[in-house]
Structure formats: structure tokens, C-alpha cells
Amino acid sequence: MIYRESGQFKTSYRADSQVFPILQDRIGFAVILFVALLVIPLFASEYWINAILIPFLIFSLAAMGLNFLTGYAGQLSLGSAAFMAVGAYAAYNFQLRVEGIPFLVSFVLGGCCAALVGVLFGLPSLRIKGFYLAVATLAAQFFVVWCLTKFPWFSNNSSSGVISAQNLVMFGFTFNTPETKYLLVLAIVILMSVLGKNLVRSATGRSWMAVRDMDVAAEVIGFHLMKTKLLAFAVSSFYCGLAGVLYAYCYLGAVEPDGFSLELSFKILFMVIIGGVGSILGNYLGAAFILLLPIFLDIAMPFISGILHLPISNSVVSHIQVMVFGWLIIFFLIIEPHGLTRLWGIAKEKLRLWPFPH
């Protein structure tokens, strides 16, 4: 009942095709934006901003990138972390080597470099599909990390291969507090989400989905396969690259090639799978699940064992945490294989009827 759209009439095509067709959604979204933009920077603790919200936003962005490629265009990729690395290192080098370049420009250029590398490693997708393509993108994962380790130029000859992100100054303003960094990340993520959402609703997104559902049919009805697939790789890598830049500049502050490991790629892939393949909302849900749950378990377990007076040591907590995390993933995939987004969809359906069952 509370979630019913009856009485909300669309009188124009514009109104009919808006992102949130239901009034309640619009209100909900406005509330979320209000909280994210005003309440959190004013009231959230440093721990929440630095250790939870910033990585959450960054990984949502990275997951969105992968979701374009895997969820919308149907190309499986295991190279997301590598594209993040390209973005981070490229932005660092632009900032370092080009005198007076604005940060935003080097951020975008970092994303563009990642897009270029993405297209390069996307070329095999024209010939191979499915798991074989996943293996080809795996090559990107190893090659990029190897390359950044092998050639000291990329890390400005740092003996350790670690790069330290420069101080973030934009428009004469220094982003050095958690709140300002958070707002910067948030602004970029909102912008990219709006762009992304509209991209998948446009002809481009439909062409990706056509290719995903059946590439031969898509080709027959006139989609250029090469263009479509490579565009998906480019856009996806751009998003991942940008996430990598933010990861280096707004989250960790110092990154090394080994940090962008296969493990990170898997993490992003799991976010997409758990959150919901082929949805924008799913990226946020997936990132929240994968990032927050372990932290939550980590904090809650000693607390619970304290209440129950169980002699649980730190290392046991870590082991149990991994197990519980695994169980929960399996649990969620069993009750809803289409991810948390679908769960949210079901909840919406229910709310529509509530409190009447029919």
C-alpha cells in the first residue's frame, strides 16, 4: 500500500522514461542523497568515512565498470583490478610529469589510459567467449602488474615500486580531511552513476544487451559486434580506472602494483554477482555486502563471544569470519540467484500489496 504507484499518471514521454518512475522512489532517492551529501559529512565519524564509506563508494564505481562489461555486454572479465592499477599509475604519472596539470584532468586521463588498455585486452573478445575470454582478461591482470613492477619508470624509480599519491588540490582547495575526500569521491560517483544509468538505458546499453543475449542475432539485426564489444570494454575500463585513481588518491594514499592483485579482481566480480548482474543498484548493494559484512563480523564476533563468555581469540574470530562470510554468500545465492537487487525487487513487490496479500 505504501509503495503503490496508483494515481501517479504519466502525461508525457519524458515523464514515462524517467529513471525513477514512482514517486516513492524519487522521495527515497532524495533522502539518500540528502543523507549522503549533508548528514554524513557533518555527523559521521572519521572511521566511518575513511574506512567504510570511501572504499564502499570506490568499489561501487569499480563494480559498476565491471557490470557494464559482464552484466550488460555479457563479456566475462577478471582484469578489473589491473584496470584500476592502470588508472592509478597513469594519473600519478600525469600529475608528476606534466607541469601544472589540474587533478581532474589527470583523473580523466587516468581513466582514459585504463580504457585504452581495456580495449587492447578486449580485442580477443571478438574471437573468444565465456570462460576463454575470462582467461584472456586474466592475462591483463598479470601483465599489468608485471609491467608496473618491471619498469621503474611507472613508479618514478621508487626503489620499492610504491607510489605515493600527491596532495590533492583542486581549484585552489586542498582535499586533505576525510570529509572533503569523501565529498569528492561521492560527487564523482554520483556523476558517473547518472552517466552510467543513462548509458545503459540508451541505444548503447541496448546494443550491449543485444550482444549479451545473442551476439549472432545482434549482428544480423545490424549491430557492429566489434564496435559494441570494444566500447563496452572501453567504458568498463574507464570506470575501473577512475575507481583506481580514487583508490590511490582518496583512500589508501600509497599503492603498490601487488595491491591490485587477482584477489581484488575477484572481489569486484563477487560484488557484481552478489549485488545483481545487469543492474546499477546492484553495484552498491554488492559492494556494501562484500566490504561491510567482514568488518561487521569482525566487530560483532568478539562482542558476541564476550556476552556469551566464549574464549575466542583474535585468530579464531578471523577464521570464523571467513566461514560465516562464505555461508552467507551461498545462502544469498540460494535464496536469490539474481542477487540482492532482485531481493530488493521482491521486497518492493511485497510492499506494493502490503498489508493485503492479494
Binding site: 572511521y47 574506512a51 583474535n314
Partner: protein
């Protein structure tokens, strides 16, 4: 319709219970209680699981045991009890950052007192943050190594030794062993292909020019559990010595591979990350005769270790479930790190007020003005446990000394006294690297007074 409805209802129930548990959990989440105000809170981002969990258990076990000993036997420092909390990092950078932030929220005025991450990667990730939060980041024996220059890195302390100084000390040991010259000798540098393994290269190259030995660098990709090709190459090269910068599973693999190709283990000298019981025991016989550098000695003959066993373990408050680890290299290393931390707290209290909780800034001053002599170590019962440390703004390392130890199949035996690396050669390298960093980050190098 009916089944659909059931599915939906159960779905909703699940959602409900999920929401409930989430709400409950959030309460736990937000209810981060901070430490008691009159305790000196120490943040311990430790690792006891994951690929290096074995090493972490021994190190952090020793660290916590010593803190416990101070609380039990001396009732804290001038009446200020030590409090601490661990957070599992699993040696993962992102988790390390999360732990750092989480512990910071609980630490009150101390801001964590002194952060020992035992990980180069995590140290790099929290370097800027610790500087902003004004809490010392202690990297005993690892890096960021150019933080030796305290004018650029006021809050970072690579205490005791760094990879570069250690490599230089190993070369010095070999020079002495060979009657004062390594001319025309050949040394292979076999290393973990990561930040850790690459840092000493610049030092070894400089040493090879001075001592006129030929240096051959051979990298091993992480994790290093397959080194057949590398050791074939080493046999081809037939070097006089192998300097070995291994890590984790790579160490035992190397020793076994050396035995296989018939390369004498007595000619292999490892870094301190490659010189613990956890590294040699799995290699069994293959490890006999292998040497490694270390910045602390092993064994229970050090009085303070014996005392911990008595005071802490007999009271049933020991941190390790496996008591056999007491007295191992890494355990004693954890104790050494705790000794230095506690001495710094004492020093800070002497200057800023006895019986008070020290802030991160006060601790920084203490770490920059440490003067731990053999005399003071004797007084602590830590005779010969670690080298003397005297720090200053120009020298956050404070010692640069290591000993060389040899594995006899059951325990480590010392084969040298404290050897100092070639400071005149290595420290300018740090200085140059630090000033490069300062330029990148727009920092004007200054020595902080307080």
C-alpha cells in the same frame, strides 16, 4: 499463485530477520567504546591468520606478552596501565587501513601510542594518515626505509635497521670473513620480486662498486614456491655467496632447492625476514648451515624472556597457545619491539609528566630522542637482546646494526657480533630518496622540536 505467495512470505520473513539482525549489528557497530581515559592505549594492527599468520603469531605474541608483563610485574609505567587492542589485518593493505582507523577511534588521547604493522605495504598505506593524526608509525627493520630522514617523515621510524643497511652489513660480514676483501668474488642476490626484495638492490650495487665484487640479481616471483629455474641459474653462475631476500614459503623452498642442486647452504645468507624458525624448520635437513641476519637474538637465555615465561605464562595470561614459540626469533623480536615502545613511553613521561597518558605527539618526541644503551638494556633484563638505539631527527633508524646467525638444525647460533652497515654509503641514498619524496609531495623538510 499460492506457491508464489509462500515464496514471497518466506522471502519477506527472511528480509525481516535480516533487517533485525542488521539493526542489532549496527548497534554493535556504532557502539565503539573508547579506551579508559587513564590507560595508555596501544593500537595493534596484527596478523595471526593468512599467508604470514605463523610469523605474526610469534611476533605479536611476544609484543603482547611484554606489555602484559609490564602491567603485572610493574603495574604499568609510573602507575599508568597499558591497554591495547588487536585488529586482524591478514597482511592485507586495505584491511590494515580499516584496522588503523578502527583502533584510532578507540584510542583516546594516545591515538594508538605507536603503530607496529609488521608489513611494508600497510606501513606505506597508513604513512600519510599517521602523519595527519600525529601518531608515530614504527617500522622496525623494514620500510618505508627513506623515513630514516626525520625532517621529511617526522612521524615515521624505521627503527634499528633497514633493508639497505642490513644488506650492507651482510656484505661487511662477508668482507671480514674473506680476509678483508671481496675483490673478484661473485655474489648472487636472490630476491622476492616485490618492494621488499627490490629495496636493497641499490645498496648492493653501491657495495659491489666499492668492494669490487660481481653482483648477479635473480628475482623470484611471488609466492616463490617454485625456484627450479633460479637455482639452475645459480649453479651455472657458481657464485661465492648467495644473499637471499626471501619471504614466507619462498624461504624453505630456496633451501630445499639449494640442497637439490648441491649448493652449500653455508654460503647462503638471508635477510631477517628469512631467518626465523618458521622459515628453516620446514626445510628440515636442507637448512643446516644456513645463515641469516637478525636484529635481535633468540633463546630464553635473555633474562627478560625467562621472566615473561615466569610472570605471564605461569599466571595463565600468556598470549600464545603454543608456548613452544616463546624464545624463538620472532617472539623475541616482538618482545624487542615492545621493549622499545615501552622505553619510549617512559622517556616521554620523564619529559612531559610522570603518571600521565602520553599523546601521539609526545611519543613522537620520545622516539626521536631515544637513547637505549646496553646499560639500560641490562637494567631491563634485555641484555644483548637488541642493539643500542640512539635516534635523532636526521637518523630515525638509530642503529643500523644486525648480527649474523647460523642454523644448526635445531637452533640459531650467533656467528658474529653486532655489525653496522656502511652508513656513510647508505644514508645519503635515503636522504636523496626522501628529498625526492618531499618534492613530489610539496613538503619543506623541517625538524620538529616537540
Amino acid at each position: 499463485m499460492k506457491t508464489n505467495q509462500i515464496a514471497l512470505t518466506t522471502g519477506l520473513m527472511k528480509t525481516k530477520s535480516l533487517t533485525l539482525s542488521l539493526v542489532l549489528g549496527l548497534g554493535v557497530f556504532l557502539g565503539v567504546n573508547s579506551a579508559q581515559a587513564d590507560d595508555q592505549f596501544i593500537s595493534i594492527p596484527s596478523y595471526r591468520v593468512g599467508p604470514y599468520g605463523q610469523n605474526g603469531q610469534a611476533f605479536y605474541g611476544g609484543f603482547v606478552d611484554y606489555l602484559n608483563k609490564i602491567n603485572i610485574a610493574q603495574n604499568g609505567i609510573n602507575g599508568v596501565k597499558l591497554a591495547w587492542e588487536e585488529c586482524e589485518t591478514e597482511y592485507n593493505n586495505a584491511k590494515g587501513v580499516e584496522c588503523y582507523e578502527r583502533l584510532k577511534g578507540k584510542s583516546g588521547v594516545s591515538k594508538g601510542t605507536a603503530i607496529h604493522t609488521m608489513s611494508t605495504g600497510i606501513s606505506y598505506s597508513v604513512l600519510d594518515k599517521s602523519q595527519a593524526d600525529k601518531v608515530p608509525l614504527i617500522m622496525m627493520g623494514y620500510g618505508r626505509t627513506d623515513a630514516v630522514d626525520g625532517s621529511v617523515f617526522p612521524y615515521a621510524f624505521p627503527l634499528v635497521t633497514t633493508y639497505q643497511m642490513q644488506a650492507s652489513a651482510i656484505v661487511k660480514f662477508l668482507v671480514e670473513k674473506n680476509g678483508g676483501s671481496l675483490a673478484n668474488k661473485k655474489i648472487v642476490y636472490l630476491y622476492h620480486d616485490s618492494a621488499y626484495g627490490k629495496e636493497p638492490i641499490v645498496a648492493l650495487e653501491a657495495e659491489s662498486k666499492i668492494n669490487r665484487f660481481k653482483l648477479v640479481e635473480i628475482p623470484v616471483a611471488h609466492p616463490g614456491n617454485e625456484q627450479g629455474a633460479q637455482w639452475l641459474k645459480i649453479r651455472e653462475e657458481n657464485p661465492d655467496y648467495v644473499i637471499f631476500w626471501g619471504w614466507g614459503v619462498m624461504n624453505q623452498t630456496a633451501l630445499k632447492a639449494a640442497q637439490k642442486v648441491g649448493f652449500s647452504r653455508e654460503k647462503i645468507i638471508g635477510s631477517w625476514w628469512a631467518g626465523s624458525e618458521e622459515d628453516v624448520m620446514p626445510a628440515g635437513d636442507a637448512a643446516k648451515g644456513y645463515m641469516s641476519a637478525t636484529w635481535n637474538v633468540s633463546g630464553k637465555s635473555v633474562p627478560v624472556i625467562a621472566e615473561i615465561e615466569k610472570v605471564v605464562y605461569d599466571a595463565g595470561k600468556g598470549n600464545l597457545s603454543d608456548k613452544n614459540k616463546v624464545g624463538t626469533i620472532l617472539y623475541n623480536r616482538g618482545v624487542s619491539a615492545a621493549v622499545v615502545t615501552v622505553e619510549a613511553i617512559k622517556l616521554a613521561q620523564n619529559k612531559f609528566g610522570k603518571g600521565k597518558v602520553m599523546t601521539g605527539e609526545q611519543m613522537r618526541w620520545a622516539f626521536e630522542n631515544l637513547n637505549i644503551t646496553n646499560q639500560s638494556l641490562n637494567a631491563l633484563g634485555a641484555t644483548g637482546l637488541l642493539p643500542e638505539i640512539k635516534t635523532s631527527c636526521e637518523n630515525h633508524e638509530g642503529s643500523g646494526k644486525v648480527k649474523i646467525q647460523q642454523w644448526d638444525g635445531t637452533k640459531w647460533n650467533l656467528v658474529s657480533d653486532w655489525i653496522e652497515g656502511n652508513k656513510a654509503l647508505i644514508h645519503p641514498l635515503f636522504k636523496a630518496s626522501a628529498s625526492e619524496y618531499a618534492k613530489e609531495k610539496n613538503i619543506t623538510p623541517t625538524c620538529l622540536k616537540n
